[in-house]
Symmetry: C2
DNA sequence: CGTTAGCACTCGACTCTAACGAGTGCTAAC
DNA sequence: GTTAGCACTCGTTAGAGTCGAGTGCTAACG
């Protein structure tokens, strides 16, 4: 579709613009050395590239900047050879090797490291509770009317929920139920818990219990909410403020607002979890208007072939794709490998 | 120290400036109606107030703005009669009445409501784990080498931690230990756990166990980290961006950076937890430079006379003190009352 | 003597204009 | 096909002028 020379020039422009955040002129491309043509020739090609939709011109007498289509082409034809950032990687690898568990603090800390070494915003989607299975279920009474339910998953994640026990139900009765549940529901995937609860335990429990209805509704309450919460962790949101394209408060406001909206963020990250390898969403490819000038790069790590979580880096559309993509690529593979070693 | 008229004028200036974010002139004060003097008279008083350090002049031909000292005086002499924002309060009260527990989601949601109704940034310091006592302690093995430790406090908070079990230690042995611990340590305040562990259980456990040293170091590891984590929850950080004084990215950057630094934030909030009633830190009274142009208003809620957590609202020094102070005042009392009712 | 009207003065904000220069598109020559 | 040359565009910057909100001071008023 593009000639070799066009490809070369487009590449040079994107590279330059990523560094400088300013429209790139023909002269500066010519002087770079890797495109051995005069400014005039380059200007001609640039005009063509603009007509083809790969470049844009902020105004008549300015240089060119890449369009979304230009970035997309750049990314799709990026040389996938990993750069070496051995220093940063060493930090990260050491960190994960030492404490590979899904405690909140650990994930939060990992997010911080990531945003620090990239200078972008990092978004981590934690291991999905939904698809892990039950390791242990327990109910502890706190006082007459409240109890705390604890669910431990096979991956060691602990979820808890405070529930109020109606006056008619006794704690000892609840405990009877829970003991029954524990033996019957261990190793059932969480997303099947509710249906299992109804189908298999319905009759049996009805025989044992006096306040079947009430207890059932309490349990229902405990399990129903647990389904959807894959949690996101965010770090370096303020790095957005250092980008020159966002020096205007108006423009960052919407982005930061969206970053605060965890449910939306979770959904967005989860939607990228399908495909393998490193995913890139450029500008309007993100289906939120606030991210129209941002790019999101993600990679998914998995255990036994099943996606567990996603690592993401958010930056301006003018972001260092090569660096971030290879970083996330390496990292997700590292994580996957470590997890499988750890769980074998 | 100040004459009645000076007080009146200072008050009017602060009020006006809080609304408009622009230097207040003598004419506009005169026209407000509540200060029945001509601009000239007011100008004279303003000059005096400036000399006394209550007002500042951005430049010679501009109106006056309150200095930190001016805000401080304003706040200290604020009429403490509660305003009524029955609508907002109804939302909040309903919310807390329905789900008064310390689950993360609940606190996070509460923070969101607070930032929404104030249009400032809300900072909540969750119930302090440190001073609650142990309700239940449990260890669950996940596989050969890892186990998850679960600590439930008397307030229903659940803390968990993944630990790796060295090859020499068997899970059954660990469970023996934990059973012993559970019966002996229930109701011990968390901050005493470590010493109790050493003093009372040392000898007894040594008799029961083969790998005393290793097990001890694992337990040590579990309890030591639990001490300090009182958690902060943040919402509406982006509200800072809507304040006209922060329309310049440079100025907000440091503030938002500090807000991302949870440990610092925790410390800051914890340091305000001592005193009773509503606390106000104006500008440089906050001992972080980034908050030099911000004010932090906090109130602490407690149970049985002991401070449990703190609610805070952060805004520009030019913030609606009256509104926020009374809101937090009411809220902290509400919470304290509800908590004591709930735990009796 | 406290208060106020009047007035000259200050100074940031805004507008307008001119000069500048980076960069283009086109044409003609190599 | 490539490049040198050149007229042209247009955003950016700097300087000059104007405006007006607001002040400080002085003198008059009750």
């Amino acid at each position: 579709m593009l000639t070799e020379r066009q490809r070369l020039i487009l590449n040079a422009i994107v590279d330059d613009y990523i560094r400088s955040a300013e429209p790139v002129g023909s002269r500066s491309i010519s002087k770079r050395g890797d495109v051995g043509f005069s400014p005039a020739t380059i200007r001609n090609e640039m005009a063509d590239l603009e007509e083809l939709g790969f470049l844009e011109q902020p105004h008549t007498s300015a240089g060119r900047i890449p369009s979304h289509k230009g970035y997309r082409y750049y990314v799709d034809h990026l040389d996938p050879t990993y750069q070496n950032f051995s220093a940063e990687l060493r930090t990260l690898r050491a960190f994960f090797a030492e404490k590979l568990n899904a405690t909140e603090q650990v994930i939060q800390h990992a997010a911080m490291i990531l945003s620090n070494i990239t200078n972008y915003t990092s978004i981590l989607l934690g291991p999905e509770v939904f698809h892990t299975s039950l390791r242990h279920f327990q109910l502890l009474s706190l006082n007459e009317t409240t109890a705390v339910a604890i669910i431990v998953t096979s991956t060691g994640q602990v979820e808890s929920k405070t529930v109020s026990v109606p006056p008619g139900v006794s704690v000892s009765e609840m405990e009877k139920v829970v003991n029954l549940l524990n033996s019957k529901l261990v190793n059932v995937p969480l997303y099947k818990l509710k249906t299992r609860l109804y189908r298999e335990l319905g009759q049996e429990m009805q025989r044992h219990l006096t306040n079947f209805e009430e207890i059932m509704s309490i349990l229902d309450n405990i399990f129903v909410e647990e389904e959807s919460d894959q949690r996101v962790y965010l770090s370096g949101a303020t790095n957005m403020l250092t980008q020159p394209e966002f020096k205007d408060v108006e423009k960052v406001k919407d982005i930061l607002d969206l970053l605060e909206e965890t449910p939306t963020l979770t959904k967005m990250m989860a939607s990228m979890q399908g495909a393998a390898g490193v995913q890139v969403r450029i500008g309007t490819e993100n289906d939120h208007e606030a991210f129209a000038n941002c790019s999101l790069i993600t990679a998914t790590y998995s255990l036994d072939g099943e996606a567990l979580g996603t690592i993401g880096i958010l930056g301006p559309t003018r972001m260092e794709y090569a660096k971030v993509m290879s970083l996330l690529g390496i990292l997700s593979k590292d994580l996957t490998a470590m997890l499988s070693k750890l769980n074998k």
